[in-house]
Amino acid sequence: MATIAPDLTPSTKTNGNNSSDVLKLGRPFRYIVLTLVGLFFIVPIVSSARFSFLGNHNSFTISAYTQLFGTAQFWSTLFLSVKVGVGTVFLTLALLIPTVVWVHVRLPKLRRVFEAISLLPLVVPSVVVTLGVITSFRGLPNIIYGTPVILSLEYVVLALPFSYRALDSSVQSIDLKTLVEAGQSLGAGWIKLLRFVLLPNIRGGIIGASILTFAFCLGEFAVASLLSFTTFPVFLVQVGQLAASQAVALSLIALLFTWIPLAVITLVFSQRRASRSTIVADE
């Protein structure tokens, strides 16, 4: 959000009075917008937090949290969700990195087609996708069918719009074809190319795709419930029907769970980018 501010400031120096008049008006205006947007996000969270710490007669209590942490199901469902999430991330990366790379290097004309396919889960209702996946994998052995592995397979498909896009845009930001050809002419095979050249240069996309996929897995309710798996979100809904303050506490925990890694990674990446672009080239 803070990046909006520096974009506007340079024009004050170059342009005439007109634009600085606009800016004089604009400066408070953008703080108003930022505040409103901020409130929109923060108020529900703060109220939820307040509610979750509310005991009898408006007293402060952390009992909602202690009770939750004391529940065996809290840990088991959280563990299940994390397990499914990690599995989904690995499956997604193993499937998509070679696909995206291959499409860019060998089949550039099919890029649009693949992009369209990746967006299908947004268009097709998730119930339909779920049934489709179940039907497709019906013949598979029981290790997959009827275990959380099937959930990972579902999520790979459902998270495709996010994961594919993240990877595709990071691959597009580098001249992949030339880099591959340069590597090949220097004697590198595909494995070495992938290890030394491709993966390091699309790291941002890989991390982005991983976070988005993981966050999706940790928050998905419908499919998990449909397939009778008690994942973390399913547990959240069950708790919500019995104890309201625990449900709110639970959703706050879930929020922190996805938000903290996102914030850390965003910070680490923006710092690296800033330090990399400090030296100016000279001939």
Binding site: I174, D175, T178, L179, E181, A182, G183, Q184, S185, L186, G187, A188, G189, K192, F196, V197, P200, N201, R276, S277, I279, V280, A281, D282, E283
Partner: protein, 363 residues
């Protein structure tokens, strides 16, 4: 730019070049024939420039040589080896690309070392070799910079060092200078030539810039519609083009109407008698079109009945004059600056021939 020590050590990383041969190479992209039975033979240690307009197949020829494109038919031979079916990674060809191709995640030094790392050389050997090569291209002090911290010219120097690090048998450069500004372009061009001569490596250089080709090549291969039009020294290509296309593409040329006088002379309108090569089969009196370079036409002096002076542009050592004859045909003439007085304050001039016609063709 380069220390004498490096020059003395030149032999350490040079290897004598190998001859390269294209034999009837063809390559089609869908319905378009990028290469049609393309034949070319380069001697060991030679710098061949592939020159031609875009779409003439020059880059395809280069990519076929580098193994980045497989030919539909024909053979590519390096030294005594038929490399046609070898993948790029096994060919040992150093390549410099048109676009900046350095690995963005590696420093200049790491980029140069990449080919050696892939080959499993020890860090110590890699380091000393990348040091030598970065010194060769004058960038020793920039070893630890990342590509985005280097200018375009510096990036292409690193790319050259990277291509040379693996001791390639052949060096191929695909329009390596086209993304650079004019000044850097000409200095880097000279530097590429110096390094190439020093290492004695057989080199293919693709460009669409005729000036670049004339300046750098041992021999120029002029390409047109997927085929080789002419392979000859820059001087021969310029003064003795094999085809009309070569005459038009390399340098400027006038097309003037004329009439054959005998086996060595043709009477050209406005210019007078012009000599031509006698291997053509025209009979005296045939109407022909004569291709003449601007510098092969001289200005005799003012003549109100002659060609009108339309424009003059001063190019330093020469002056380019655009004339209009009485039939409204444009004629381009280049005269030495020392003759500037001939056209000073003059409205129309008469011309004479100062050199051979490039080509004579029937009308």
């Amino acid at each position: 730019m380069i220390s004498s020590e490096t020059v003395a050590n030149g032999g350490r990383y040079s290897r004598s070049g190998l001859p390269v041969r294209f034999e009837n190479v063809a390559r089609n992209f869908k319905d378009v024939a990028a290469l049609k039975s393309f034949n070319l033979s380069a001697d060991a240690g030679e710098l061949i420039v592939l020159l031609g307009p875009s779409g003439c197949g020059k880059t395809t020829a280069l990519r076929v040589l580098a193994g980045l494109e497989m030919p539909d038919s024909g053979r590519v031979i390096i030294g005594d080896h038929d490399v046609t079916s070898l993948p790029s990674a096994k060919r040992n060809i150093g390549m410099v690309f048109q676009s900046y191709s350095l690995f963005p995640n590696m420093t200049a030094k790491e980029n140069v070392e990449f080919g050696l790392r892939v080959r499993g050389q020890s860090p110590k050997d890699r380091s000393s070799r990348s040091g030598e090569l970065l010194e060769l291209v004058g960038l020793k002090s920039q070893s630890d910079r990342y590509p985005h911290q280097l200018s375009g010219g510096q990036q292409q120097r690193v790319a050259l060092a990277r291509a040379l690090a693996v001791q390639p048998e052949v060096l191929v450069l695909d329009e390596p200078l086209s993304a650079l500004d004019a000044k850097v372009r000409s200095s880097l061009r000279d530097e590429i030539r110096r390094i190439q001569l020093e290492l004695g490596i057989t080199t293919f250089f693709v460009t669409h810039d005729q000036e670049e080709a004339l300046a750098i090549a041992d021999r120029i291969a002029v390409m047109h519609q997927g085929q080789l039009e002419q392979l000859d020294t820059p001087l021969a290509v310029y003064t003795n083009p094999a085809t009309e296309f070569v005459a038009e593409f390399v340098g400027t040329v006038n097309r003037l109407p004329g009439r054959i006088v005998d086996a060595s002379q043709v009477e050209v309108e406005n210019v007078g008698l012009v000599e031509y090569k006698s291997d053509s089969t025209f009979t005296a009196g045939s109407e022909v079109e004569v291709l003449v370079r601007p510098e092969s036409i001289g200005i005799r002096g003012a003549n109100d009945e002659g060609c009108r002076v339309l424009a003059k542009s001063f190019l330093g050592s020469t002056i380019k004059i655009t004339l209009l004859d009485r039939a409204d045909r444009l004629i381009s003439v280049a005269i030495p600056t020392s003759d500037a007085g001939l056209v000073e304050g003059v409205e129309a001039v008469s011309l004479y021939s100062r050199g051979q016609a490039l080509l004579v063709k029937g009308r």
